[in-house]
Structure formats: C-alpha cells, structure tokens
C-alpha cells in the first residue's frame, strides 16, 4: 500500500446535538479505500455506518449533525475543511452517490431524462442536446432497455430495480473516482439485488472507480467487496480483506455475526448461535470496550480502557485486547450439508 489511497478517513468523530448534549454516533473511525477497490462497511442498525457515509459527502442532517473531529482525505483534499463551493464540485462530480430508496432519491414530477441531464449540466460544459444524448448513453450503460423511450418517463413508471439503475446512471454521469452506495439493494428483491450488484461490479471494472458499500448484509459484503470494516456502536471493531474477515475473524462481534446467520449449509431447525443482549445506548456507552456487555469472552480488564486497533495480519486489524487468546474460529464448512 505504498500508493496514496483515494480516500482516507482518519479518526472521524460525528455527533448529534439534542437538548444540549451531544451523542457521539461515530467515534474515532479510520479506514482507507484504494483506487478501483471496493470497501464494505457493515454493521447493525445504529452502528454509525450510514452516518460515516453521510459524513464523507458532508451531508449530515443539519443543524444537529456535526463532524467533531478527524480528517476525510479525498484525492488529497480534506473534505472536513472544504468550503460549500468545493463540496458542490465534489458531490456528484468526483464522488457519486447511491441511496437505499431510489424512489426518494428521484424527483417524482420530473422525467428521468431531466434528472439525469441535471447532473450532467451541473458538472460538464454541455449543450442540452449533447446532455440528452449522453443521458441516453448512460441509461443504456446501466442496462435500461429502450433508453430513448424510458428517458421520457417518470420515476413511478419504472420498477424498483429500474429506478435504482437510473440513480446509478446519475451517480456515474461525471465519471466519479468514488461511488458511495448506502444500502443500494436493501429495498430490492433478491434476483433484482443480484442484478444491481453485478451491474455495479461490471461498471467498476469498466470505469475503474472505487466503491464504498454500506450494508447490513454480510452476504452482500462477501460477494462484492475486497475489504470490509465491521462497525459496532460507532467504532471500528475489525477491518481487513473479506477473505480474512470471513475465515479468520478476530473480533468476538464479527464471529458472533457470522455464526448467527442461517446459511444454506446450516442444519435445518438447529438452534442458531445468538448474540445476547443489545447495543448500549449512545449516552450509556461503557468505559472500555463497547461490546463487553454482550461478549462471551469479556473479563474485568475489558472495562478499563477502549481497546486499541491491533494488527492481526496483512491489512487486517482488530479492536479487542483478547484476540490472541480466543479459541480458533471454526468456519461453517460447505461440506457440512
């Protein structure tokens, strides 16, 4: 990793103000994304994965959301310090965005064509005719059949999968070097999800962009990402190449998550391993490790100080002081049908 990463998030802390107190939703998150690679951010509701994504684009809900500290270095520029005018050039230009619900990302009273053209005209010196033609090319590229007809239609006339393709076309309109996708397939059916993920990967191959994919679905991470960050309660529990994360998970939380998903190879009607308890509330975070109340391996010293991120292997780090002492992780072997 000698080359400078495309995106580097360093010690990011994000808080939400309410009634005079600040809840730290993201607390000391760091990761890097290399050019052309896919990084997954995975975690359960409330772990801060979407807040992290919104921070990168500086789209935190205002006035309550605030970046409290840290750096977001994108192509050498710190987005935390960037002016609104600079951010305008980056958003939708160098960074494309895809959100979970395509229906709310699209304007219901404008045609598909107008919306795709808007992004083009905002960032490129094009005539309207040229933008129209380019919009058709883009829709074709994301696999929308008969784009010259569809371009005149409204979002409600398209299916969920087709709408998400339109959103992707808009995100790609200015050849971004980074695509941030927040749960892009969560609202879609499995067969459509598979189509959209395939599309994103093939576009990545063609265009060479990096992707940050936020999801709660470990299956999607495994299928699509090169590396992943596992977040828990606003912090990074573990990160690494997906192969290492899924086969040699070092954090008890990652292990717990992997064990609790029913797979096709899990014996039917068997008891699934569970993670007992629940995530502590943001204003009740314990000192020390935030996973201690649910962790089967927790001991007294886990409550003393927040565990530092320690290197486990090549590009693989974990925030657990006991990771060396944990029993060997038994991956569910596909042979155990």
């Amino acid at each position: 990793m000698s080359e400078a990463p495309l995106l580097e998030v360093r010690d990011l802390a994000v808080g939400f103000e309410s009634g005079g107190t600040v809840a730290r939703a993201v607390d000391g998150v760091s990761f890097r994304v290399a050019r052309g690679k896919t990084l997954g951010i995975v975690g359960e509701s409330g772990c801060g994965k979407s807040v992290t994504a919104f921070s990168i684009m500086r789209l935190l809900p205002q006035p309550h959301g605030k970046i409290l500290g840290g750096k977001i270095l994108f192509e050498g520029q710190d987005l935390v310090q960037a002016s609104e005018a600079e951010l305008h050039r980056v958003r939708g230009g160098r960074i494309g965005m895809v959100f979970q619900e395509p229906l709310s990302a699209l304007n219901p009273v404008q045609t598909i064509g107008r919306q795709v053209m808007e992004a083009l005209l905002l960032h490129k010196p094009l005539t309207k005719e040229a933008a129209w033609a380019e919009a058709i090319t883009l829709l074709d590229k994301v696999g929308i059949p008969s784009p010259e007809v569809r371009i005149r239609e409204y979002p409600h006339q398209l299916s969920g999968g087709m709408r998400q393709r339109v959103v992707i076309a808009m995100a790609l309109s200015c050849n971004p070097s980074l695509l941030i996708a927040d749960e892009p397939t969560t609202a879609l059916d499995v067969t459509i999800q598979a189509q959209i993920l395939e599309l994103m990967l093939s576009l990545q191959r063609d265009l060479g962009m990096a992707i940050v994919l936020i999801t709660h679905d470990l299956g999607v991470i495994a299928q699509v990402c090169d590396e992943a960050v596992v977040m828990y309660a606003g912090q990074v529990a573990e990160y690494g190449p997906v192969e290492a994360l899924f086969h040699r998970p070092a954090h008890p939380y990652t292990r717990g998550l992997l064990a609790s998903i029913p797979r096709l190879t899990t014996p039917r009607k068997s008891r699934l391993p569970t993670i007992e308890g629940a995530v502590p509330a943001l204003n009740e975070m314990p000192a020390g490790c935030r996973y201690q109340n649910r962790c089967p391996y927790a001991e007294a010293r886990c409550a003393l100080a927040p565990p530092p991120l320690e290197a486990v292997g090549e590009g693989h780090a974990v925030s657990c002081i006991r990771w060396r002492e944990l029993p060997e992780f038994k991956p569910v072997s596909p042979a155990a049908v």
Partner: protein
C-alpha cells in the same frame, strides 16, 4: 405422506382485487394477487412460503386468516371451510389461528401497555377472570423471554427484537394450533434475528405448533421449514421438501432465486444464473406460464399454456411438485450447492 390429517388444507384459493380507475372509480381491471393456490399443512409442520415482492405471499397469508376475503376456493382448517364462514362462526375458530406480522412497531397498539395488548385476546374471547388473565400474561412473557415487569411498559420502550417477542406472545395467548408468520424477522438485525428464530423453533416444539412461514429470505426459510412453496405471480411454482428444494431445484425461477442468494462466503465461485427482467404485474399477468418472459428456457408451449403443478418424485421419495412444462436438465443450470447431480432427465 398421508398419515396424519392436515391441519390446514387450501384448495384452489383465489384472492382478486378490483383495480379502480376513471372518475367513477369503476373497476377497470383485476389484480390476481393469489390465483389458484393449493397446499396442505400438517400438525407440527412448518411450510415456508417464499417469493419476491408482489408474488402474493402476504395476501395468501391474510386470506387464510380471513383478514382479506378470498374470491374463490376453500380453506379447510381442521375440517371447517373458513372461506365462506360468517363473522360469528369465524370468531371461535380464530383463537386457534393466529398471525405474527413483519413490523412489530406497526402491529402493536402504541397507546396500550404490553399487558393490555396481551390481555386483549382473552377479553375478546371472554376467557378467564381478571386474576387468571394476569397470570396468563406473566406466563406468556416468561415463554417469550421478556421480564414480567414488561407488562406495565409501552411498546416504544422496547427494541425491535423485544417488540417482535411481544407480537409472538400475543399470537400465543390463546394457545393457537396454527400461526401464520408474515416476515417475522425481516425487520430485525442479524444478531436479533437468530434469537427470534430460535424462539419460534422452541415454541413450535413445546406447543406442537404448525407454522406457515412467509418470507423473502431464502436462507431463513430453509432453516425453519420442513417443506417450502415457491410463489410467483400469485401461483405456487414449486412445492417440495426443504432439503430437496435446494439440492435439486426443478423450476427455473427457484434456481434463479437460489443463485441470487448472497451467501456470506467470500468469492464463492457459485455458478450464477441471474434472471434478467423484472417481475411482471399481477394485474396483467402474461399468458401461459407466468415466468416465461424471464425464463431462459421458454418455448412456444410456455407462452401459450399455463403449466399445472405436477408431482415429479416417485412414490418412495419425498414429494416434489413443480409447475413447469419441462423436466429441465439439472446440468443446464447447476445447483448452487454443487450437490452431485445424477438426476434423471427425461426430456428437455
């Protein structure tokens, strides 16, 4: 497979909705949400019902408990046909037939305490004194793993997983024999999902419950079900033993669904067959086989005639029915589990 009498027998069930349009809101078309579904459910058995949005799986579930009125067909629950039963006669049967919904936040009355929510079924059916009801509520909370003190709190004070436990407790209140679970874990995080699935399996063993388990999640449905029905555009396209469905999927749609599951296994080199195209609408379903516009093997016959659900197993094997005109070569679309494929292939 004909030893015990089925607890539920659905035959040729149809639930159609008029689609209204124009200024007089006249019926301009019919949405055939459920269009000729038949299956049986045995006591203590779980039948999984899987399909994508709009396939009619939730409509089917709601029609069975008569939250929706079926258009045609019969729903025999313990021998009584619910499809035509009036409200008065339906009420005593409803105690044995309960439902769990996807979003516990929406299906629990926010203004009632958990105690009131759990007491309501007893009041509706006039069961027990106030004293006895309170004792029953305590037992129910114990069963679903919630503290007894929960009875005095409101649903919003609980997390999603705990709220789903409240929904399950309410469904259990009157000791039902059949529970329709409509996406019971879809709104939950994975660590909570496994807790709720374990609870449902434990309760089934303890009370010998039958479940109709409706979900879009193919890994979850395999885990909980004995048999699985795959729905597409209002019809069952495949109905089989759970293991056999995944080892030897017969319908091209089932194969597409299984291939599309994102398994939590990095770079799994599973052969992919990703269907192209979108779900057609049940308002104007295509003629012939409903899947033919997306099917890579479709022929003129498929475009013309709807295939019936037919048995493909021999008498000795577990039943495996499929609604496809062809016995497709398993080699044509390999199974995702890479199970040895020494299937007979009579025809293509």
């Amino acid at each position: 497979m004909s030893s015990p009498a089925p607890i539920l027998e659905v035959r040729d069930l149809k639930t159609h909705f008029p689609v209204r349009g124009g200024i007089w809101l006249r019926s301009v078309a019919t949405c055939k949400a459920v269009d000729g579904v038949s299956f049986q459910l045995l006591p203590g058995e779980t039948l999984g019902l899987v399909g994508e949005s709009g396939c009619g799986k939730s409509t089917l579930g709601k029609s069975i408990v008569r939250l929706l009125a079926p258009t045609a067909g019969s729903i025999r629950f313990e021998g009584v046909d619910l499809a035509t039963l009036g409200r008065k006669k339906l009420k005593p049967i409803r105690r044995h037939l309960q439902m769990i919904f996807q979003d516990p936040a929406e299906s629990l009355n926010a203004r009632h305490t958990v105690g009131q929510i759990l007491e309501e079924p007893f009041i509706i059916h006039g069961i027990g004194s106030a004293e006895e009801r309170r004792a029953s509520i305590d037992t129910l909370l114990d069963k679903v793993g919630l503290p007894r003190a929960a009875a005095h709190r409101y649903p919003f004070e609980f997390s999603g997983g705990q709220r789903q436990r409240i929904g399950i407790a309410r469904a259990l209140a009157l000791q039902p024999r059949l529970i329709i679970c409509d996406e019971p874990v879809s709104a939950l995080d994975v660590s909570i999902q496994s807790q709720v699935l374990n609870l449902l399996l434990d309760l089934q063993r303890e009370f010998h419950l039958s479940y109709l388990f409706i979900t879009h999640n193919l890994a979850v449905v395999k885990h909980v079900s004995d048999r699985i029905a795959v729905m597409y555009l209002g019809r069952i396209v495949e109905l089989s033993d759970a293991e056999d469905l995944y080892a030897r999927p017969r319908h091209p749609y089932t194969r597409a669904l299984i291939a599309a599951i994102p398994e939590p296994e990095p770079r799994a080199t599973r052969p992919r067959f990703i269907g192209t195209g979108d779900l057609p609408s049940p308002i104007n379903p295509p003629p012939g086989c409903p899947f033919h516009p997306r099917c890579p093997h479709a022929t003129d016959l498929c475009r013309r005639e709807p295939p019936p659900l037919r048995e493909t197993s021999s008498a000795a094997e577990p039943s495996h029915a499929v609604a496809c005109h062809y016995d497709l070569l398993p080699a044509a679309i390999p199974s995702p589990l890479g199970a040895p494929q020494k299937q007979e292939s009579r025809d293509t």
